[in-house]
Subunit: 441 residues, 2 copies
């Protein structure tokens, strides 16, 4: 455990804010009777969409309190509220000030926190709402997508020790300018994980409208299975590759601070999926899940000069225009002078990317520019790949058997991604799900 | 001016927070060209009811800025928002915690402040929103109806001096427990006047959905006239006696700190009514206005014992039951042993008052209890009464000529109120309006 303890993050002033759970809590992982635990529960927008659902959430919180656990709750805005506030901001001014935007949109979580605290009190649970500035949960000054810098947990821990349940407005913090900051869309997940780390919680339960993490999208693959456990690395790849269950940043933070995260539904009463360290998973599948993203577009530059510096000449202007490039493939030159270069961007960036490349055509000297937005990226993910060969080969074979042409391939240590025509999305997912033995019995 | 200067209110730490405008600003009262002034503008809920109205408010603010004035703005929640938040709170818990209620309802003003700051920026006006805790505007800890204790204006004055327009969320402050407090319904008027006092503003413009203070309700008396000026004392009586233009507490605060208040409409472009010190009004009418309140009910205790201590025995239990008694009349005893006692309470308190009196009947020993909710209180108001006799007599004569029976009379230094049957409301108002020469030409 010495190694885990060393993950403490020191901050200015010597205060230790984020930490892995102390060793004394680790026995919770056993299947024995549950000792007292400290749990952070986070409820998303659909879970608190109206007064009745807020009351239902209060019952869920009360159950953990009654079981003798210490509970802190993080809430999102009531479903629809944030969109309304964003719409108003846009209607007022297309180029609205990010500081004012933050003050406006953070009000949604404020309302939910107050209402849930009331609902808990109504059930006889000692509860109190906390806004970002009251904790304070300190962030940097990047309004609209601030990063958490530290959480003062002193007073909150005192209150928790005295039996009070803090109900924390998610998504918001306090910037260095004494103004409200927000953490960006889905930021309440990040609030919850950061708080769980700071409070040294045994678990962070993320309640949402799905009941866990699946091997793939169950709306497409009927035989998709809910996973009991998944590693941080896999969850991170799943989130980055299109699965929308958890926000990428919150998974990164959980991994960094060793926070055990459970994804579960607030509408059914079943265990969800635990996102944990690799060590916690005894029998690791080679492939844990298959993600897909339709938010891709492909650009090919035909017969671009094959000489040093060309890649920089192409991708420099795109980076300047804030276009993120994902997969890149450069063909072997046939004539020794020119080559074809293919890469992917998000669908939203496609028009901008094409314009930048056309504006620079004279300098880049390509013969033709082809773009295709009807593509999908399919990714096979699993930490077991590290120790097992043949995972990529199995993928290529399964797709070839269905006549699916692979346009681009990219790999990482625990992931193989391919780009194929969008029409094949469902066929490809089902074929791969079977090929890797993931189908439910 | 030495006398006015002495009205400075000292607070802990020796900071002077509330003050009458310094002498250098007083010349503004002249009709000459306007020098630079410092103005607090307050916009109510209907003035900021939607995005278009908020943009319209931004234009109004900009006009004052363009004229070279220093402007601070106070806003209410968008019309309907506060009711929605109150409804949610009630649906969650009938006995909701006042601290959580404050956190929930204060979010309405937060949204408007942010949106108006955006709208001003969109017009090129340097603006920044301020929430109660950011100023901070400090209050006592009475959640739901907190009293303002002090306003830290240091940073705000720096920003104003640098050309920035602060947009302040009204109705809210920061309590001693580091939690959001609210000032009670209509509290944004109080926020605005307190801020005008603290900032030593030359004027506090209260924008609402009426264009000023009228001699009486223009919906009833077609010949009602808008007043150019009215004294604090008269405005206070008008507000207490049923006119709903300004909240009583805000008028008290304006009077206490010598803040010149203008009531005007955000929908028309006309000067409103100035609420000012008596000295500012050169030609004072004897009667300035006629108010009425239908929110009255009359109770008569028939043949109650006429001996010392009876009044205390009656009104003590009512006070204990939080029933406010307004007008009281005790008839001269006919038999030397018993008397009739008549008094008024609000309609909302009537049932409770009757129950208290019936529960105590044995002790009070009255013969009969009569109650009547179909009554109206009509009040003639004017500081000129102090130096003119015959005001009350003119009222009684005018009502008698129309055959209107007076049930109860009460008077103060600048007011005569009578209770009459509710059916006579309109007739009484029109008759008195003419009798005192208030009719528009």
């Amino acid at each position: 455990m010495a190694d885990r303890e060393s993950k403490y993050t020191a901050v200015a002033g010597g205060q230790r804010l984020y930490a892995v759970p102390p060793a004394s809590f680790v026995r919770l992982q056993s299947d024995g009777p549950n000792p007292m635990a400290r749990i952070v529960q986070k409820f998303g927008g659909t879970s608190v969409a109206d007064v009745d659902r807020i009351k239902n959430v209060a019952l869920r919180v009360k159950r953990e309190v009654d079981a003798g656990h210490e509970v802190a709750v993080v809430v999102s805005a009531m479903a629809g509220t944030t969109n309304q506030l964003v719409d108003w901001s846009r209607a007022i001014s297309r180029l609205h000030d990010a500081r004012e935007y933050d003050a406006v949109v953070a009000s949604g979580e404020q309302v939910t926190a107050g209402l849930l605290a009331m609902a808990l009190q109504d059930l006889g649970v000692n509860a109190r709402s906390w806004l970002g500035w009251q904790i304070p949960l300190r962030t940097d000054g990047v309004h609209g997508k601030a990063r958490i810098e530290g959480i003062d947990t002193g007073l909150m821990l005192e209150r928790i020790a005295s039996g009070q349940v803090p109900v924390i407005a998610g998504f918001q913090g306090l910037g260095p300018d004494n103004r409200i900051t927000t953490l960006g869309r889905g930021g309440s997940d990040t609030s919850a994980v950061a708080l769980a780390a700071a409070l040294k919680a045994d678990r962070c339960d993320i309640f949402t409208d799905v009941d866990g993490v699946y091997t793939t999208d169950p709306r497409i693959v009927a035989k998709a299975r809910k996973l009991d456990k998944i590693t941080y690395e896999e969850m991170l790849e799943m989130a980055s590759q299109g699965a929308k269950v958890l926000q990428t940043r919150s998974v990164e933070m959980a991994m960094k601070h060793g926070v055990r995260v459970q994804v579960l539904s607030s509408f059914v009463d079943l265990p969800g999926t635990l996102v944990v360290d690799e060590e916690e998973i005894v029998e690791q599948e080679i492939v844990s899940g298959i993600a897909y993203s339709r938010d891709e577009a492909k650009i090919t530059l035909v017969r671009v000069a094959d000489r040093p510096g060309v890649a920089a000449a192409i991708f420099g202007p795109l980076a300047d225009a804030s276009v993120n490039v994902d997969m890149i493939v450069q063909n072997v030159s046939e004539d020794g002078k020119t080559t074809d270069l293919t890469f992917t961007v998000t669908k939203a960036d496609l028009d901008r990317a094409v314009k930048v490349l056309e504006d620079n055509r004279g300098q880049l000297g390509y013969e033709d520019l082809k773009s295709d937005a009807d593509v999908v990226k399919i990714s096979v993910i699993g930490v077991g790949m590290r120790s097992h060969a043949g995972v990529a080969q199995k993928m290529f074979k399964a797709l070839a058997e269905k006549g699916i042409n692979i346009m681009v391939i990219s790999t990482s240590e625990i992931k193989v991604s391919v780009l194929v025509a969008e029409d094949y999305t469902e066929l490809a997912l089902r074929s791969l799900h079977s090929a890797y033995g993931l189908d439910a019995a």
